[in-house]
């Protein structure tokens, strides 16, 4: 991968100018970054438009720009499940999240675990929700680091560094990606990130719209593009009498991912930073415009196959290291003039940086509020609190770095699907708890969570962390289903049964600091 000087220059200028905007914006606003509510929630001040950019920048990540088209390019129709996923998550946003926003606003909750602590008066359950949030986000941050790594490598920043003690160091792009993210997050907080989300949105739309116009013209229309695709993977395989088949796993991946998405700490941070319920409801029908962009990017995966970038010698090294995850970078390098390729790469790079920063900030919030202050140092000052959050956010990034190195998976999307299995197990405690005044209690939820986590992790291990669709054999029928859904069903079942039993045998007082009006 040799560097094109024009592409490299445009990329570096745009990428670092955008990241620099984050620092500058923070300085301009005289935000007190040693206050967690400011660094971590942007002061709950974002209106419809800024929330649109911020949530869009937060939710549409390297998953969208790298992992989904990679799966479409490599495996065909299956990869398109991301489209129903990112459509179906909006009715969930519309119905569920305003309730969570209201109760959080009323009681000053910053994290989902804060809500669980208040709703059930259980430190143990809050700890479970906080720890799950952090653990599930780490592979998601890893996916962002991988996205940036691929961009840096693709643009030509892939020389080998000869270090005195360690010897030759090949993974410079990954190291650069990590350093950029770490320095950026530490200094900027959520205010700065909101500003660069705007730049990200603009860069992404320009790059995507250009791609879906220019590339089909080069290739002679969409008909030729789909004619070049592998007919075996153009559609999903049909099920048989004894196996529900890929159509079922497709639907389960879409539904499971849609249920998981708003439970992630970075999504909840984005939701809580909005200034009102109406901002969220409006965004439930404004944000799908980003889903449209996602669908177009998924189609770029089909185009990468039609162009045949995989077989071109100049991209062989990229494919050797990153597999199909290199499809979109290779397509951009091949189809765009160098300066526009630089712009498109900057779009992907910033596209990964924004969510990674919010993810790391959210993990910092979770650790500080629900683990450090709750169990280690209850009397710490706000300044210490903010400092711990920043150190913890750095620790999650280091863990993510480890994930990238340890799990160099052929499809980056598996990192996100793995996180989804875990985060889904907090659904009963966070989402069902918004609706069920008395049916659920802490003991039931904790046992359900434990069962879901154990079952989900066990399925992931049995798939060797290389996939997320587990084949369940039930009454002689094979059901290939996203492991998150199977684990969640078990979780919900146990949560209700145990809650019911506990309620019948004991009359311990209900410790719920919220009342019905708080949710409206």
């Amino acid at each position: 991968m040799s560097a094109n000087p024009v592409a490299l220059t445009v990329f570096l200028v745009l990428f670092f100018a955008t990241a620099g905007l984050g620092f500058y914006a923070t300085k301009m606003k005289t935000v007190n970054l040693s206050d967690l509510g400011q660094w971590g929630l942007g002061g709950r001040s974002f209106g419809t438009l800024i929330a649109w950019f911020l949530l869009g920048g937060d939710i549409y990540t390297a998953y969208t720009f790298v992992a989904v088209p990679a799966l479409v390019a490599g495996a065909g129709a299956t990869g398109f499940f991301a489209v129903p996923f990112t459509i179906l998550m909006y009715p969930v946003l519309f119905v569920v999240m305003p309730r969570l926003w209201s109760v959080a606003h009323k009681h000053g909750y910053v994290t989902a675990a804060d809500f669980v602590r208040g709703r059930f008066g259980s430190r143990g359950l809050a700890l479970a929700v906080a720890a799950t949030g952090i653990v599930a986000t780490i592979p998601y941050i890893a996916l962002q680091l991988m996205g940036m790594q691929i961009v840096f490598a693709g643009i030509g920043l892939n020389f080998t560094l000869n270090l005195p003690v360690i010897g030759a160091f090949h993974d410079l792009p990954l190291l650069v990606a990590f350093l950029v993210l770490a320095i950026y997050t530490y200094h900027s907080g959520l205010h700065g990130t909101a500003i660069i989300s705007v730049a990200k949105g603009i860069l992404v739309y320009v790059a995507v719209l250009a791609a879906v116009v220019v590339i089909p013209i080069e290739l002679g229309g969409y008909g030729k593009i789909f004619a070049a695709a592998d007919p075996k993977t153009l559609l999903l395989g049909h099920g048989t009498e004894s196996n529900l088949g890929p159509q079922f796993s497709f639907a389960s991946l879409a539904l499971g991912s849609a249920l998981a998405l708003w439970l992630y700490p970075h999504s909840i941070t984005g939701v809580f930073s909005s200034s009102s319920r109406s901002v969220l409801k409006r965004n439930a029908f404004l944000l799908p415009s980003f889903t449209f962009a996602l669908a177009l990017i998924a189609l770029l995966g089909v185009m990468a196959v039609a162009v045949g970038v995989k077989g071109m010698p100049e991209y062989a090294e990229g494919y050797r290291i990153f597999g199909n995850n290199f499809a979109i970078p290779a397509l951009f390098l091949h189809s765009f003039s160098p300066w526009f390729a630089g712009l498109a790469f900057a779009a992907i790079g910033v596209g990964a940086l924004v969510p990674a920063a919010i993810m790391a900030i959210s993990c910092g919030n979770l650790f500080t509020r629900n683990i450090y202050k709750e169990f280690i140092a209850p009397d710490c000052t706000p300044a210490t609190e903010s400092k711990v959050a920043k150190i913890m956010s750095l620790a999650t990034k280091l863990a993510a770095l480890f994930f990238v190195v340890a799990l160099q998976s052929s499809y980056a999307i598996n990192l996100q699907l793995l996180g989804g299995i875990w985060i889904c197990q907090t659904l009963p405690s966070v989402m069902l708890a918004l609706y069920t005044p008395r049916q659920l209690n802490a003991s039931g939820l904790l046992l359900g969570w434990l069962a879901g986590m154990v079952a989900g992790t066990w399925m992931a291990i049995s798939l060797q962390f290389k996939g997320a669709v587990y084949s369940l054999d039930l009454f002689g029928v094979t059901i290939p289903c996203y492991a998150a859904i199977i684990a969640l069903l078990l979780n919900i079942l146990i949560a209700y049964v145990v809650s019911f039993l506990v309620r019948t045998i004991s009359n311990a007082p209900v410790r719920d600091e919220t009342v019905a009006e708080d949710y409206l």
Partner: protein, 70 residues
């Protein structure tokens, strides 16, 4: 508004929010090539068009809630 609606806060307009789930989770319905548009198989354009139809399902519910001052 009748008594029952007031109590449960349910109005038929909320059923619109279920429509995308039916349309997109019943995969056999759209797992096909024909009819194509501009050479794009049904499977691909159907799901892409739903990014807009999903919005079209949500807006009436939003307007209803705003009018009710919810």
């Amino acid at each position: 508004m009748d008594e029952k609606t007031k109590k449960h806060g349910f109005h038929p307009v909320y059923l619109l929010l279920i429509v995308p789930f039916v349309a997109l989770l019943w995969v056999p319905f759209y797992n096909r090539i024909e009819p194509q548009i501009f050479g794009i198989p049904f499977f691909y354009w159907y799901q892409t068009v739903w990014t807009f139809l999903g919005t079209a399902c949500t807006i009436p519910v939003y307007l209803y809630e705003e009018r009710k001052g919810k």
